[in-house]
Amino acid sequence: MASPLEQFEIHPIVPIHIGSADLSFTNSSLWMVAATAAATIFLTLSTRRRALVPGRWQALAELSYEFIAGLIRDNVGDEGRRYFPLIFTLFMFILFGNLLGLIPYSFTFTSHLAVTAALAVFVIVGVTMVGIVKHGLHYFTFFVPQGVPAVMLPLMIPIEIVSYLSRPLSLSIRLFANMMAGHTMIKVFASFVFSLGAVSFGIGGLAPLAMNVALVGFELLVAFLQAYVFTVLTCLYLNDALHLH
């Protein structure tokens, strides 16, 4: 039987080698394109009619818009509005990646640390640049905690810097570990359905099958929740960068 981890394997679809670099178009890239295309098609088609009283699709598009706009308003404030396109794109990309990954035989690109780490590093570098552009060198007072005696500063500043550097790591590990764990679990229980069913004329397979139904529902929740958490943390980091103490 196939290993539960086989679903995370990356296969090149269109091999592209430039020099020594392997830039192949893989199944991971294919599903990233699919997520981008699905999000674009969803938003373009659902907002095409622009009715004053929205239909179902338009309501869904407006809901996602208002959801992210509210998130930015609550967590960053009015200054954050300029960053709405970035944050909305990030949310939709991760959300569609997570959701498309739940379709059988598809590939979940957010279950790869390389992808989530690239997103997280992009966010952190971007947010740091926003902070430096806005505050100049004053931004680095960020690493000096408030209300700490001067004697403790040589210890606290390295701790703050390491803590700052751990942000992209925890951001990316959280998303990738959740997606990978969930998908592995579904696959493990699916293999129980087969192996238990085979030795008990199919009756033994019912319990893990019921479990799997519950797990898929749970994964839908996780798919949304993790996209939400990634977005909220991006907002909070942006808030930190925009509003120094």
Binding site: A51, L52, V53, D74, N75, G77, F142, P145, Q146, L155, P158, I159, E160, V162, S163, Y164, L165, S166, R167, L169, S170, I173, R174, A177, N178, L225, Y228, V229, V232, L233, C235, L236, Y237, N239, D240, H243, L244, H245
Partner: protein
């Protein structure tokens, strides 16, 4: 399309929408606890925060040791700094900011995210911290 021929209905709808929104907001404020994350999710998040800082600390230590040929001193030093940073991360995640590894208490509490109650002066802050920790 609709707005030209049916203004009275729209006004009605507008009033209804406003009433519904007010009712929803009231309900949300009533149960303003953070129920959108399960306990397991929160525990997992804390674990990640703790380990991520340790990984960064150890990584910096190993890199400096390899670069400056001083093994194992930077590794030892940054191991403890990473552990400290992990604990700082967890402390911050659990005490003040809902989801954040936040850094500074904002000067004015108006930028504080997702909190219903606001306080203008810093003297009330300590009491507030205790209150929130107890809530969670």
């Amino acid at each position: 399309m609709n707005e030209r021929d049916t203004p009275p209905q729209l006004n009605e709808l507008d009033a209804k929408l406003r009433a519904a929104r007010a009712a929803r907001d009231a309900k949300e404020n009533e149960g303003a606890t953070r129920s959108n994350q399960s306990g397991v999710g929160f525990a997992f998040r804390i674990g990640v925060e703790l380990v991520a800082a340790l990984i960064v600390g150890v990584g910096i230590g190993l890199f400096l040791d390899r670069w400056l040929d001083t093994a194992p001193w930077f590794l030892i030093g940054f191991f403890f700094i990473g552990a400290g940073a992990g604990i700082v991360n967890v402390y911050r995640a659990t005490s003040r900011y809902g989801l954040a590894v936040g850094y500074h208490v904002p000067a004015d509490e108006t930028v504080e995210p997702r909190e219903a109650e606001t306080s203008a002066d810093g003297s009330a802050k300590d009491a507030e911290i205790g209150e929130r920790t107890a809530k969670e």
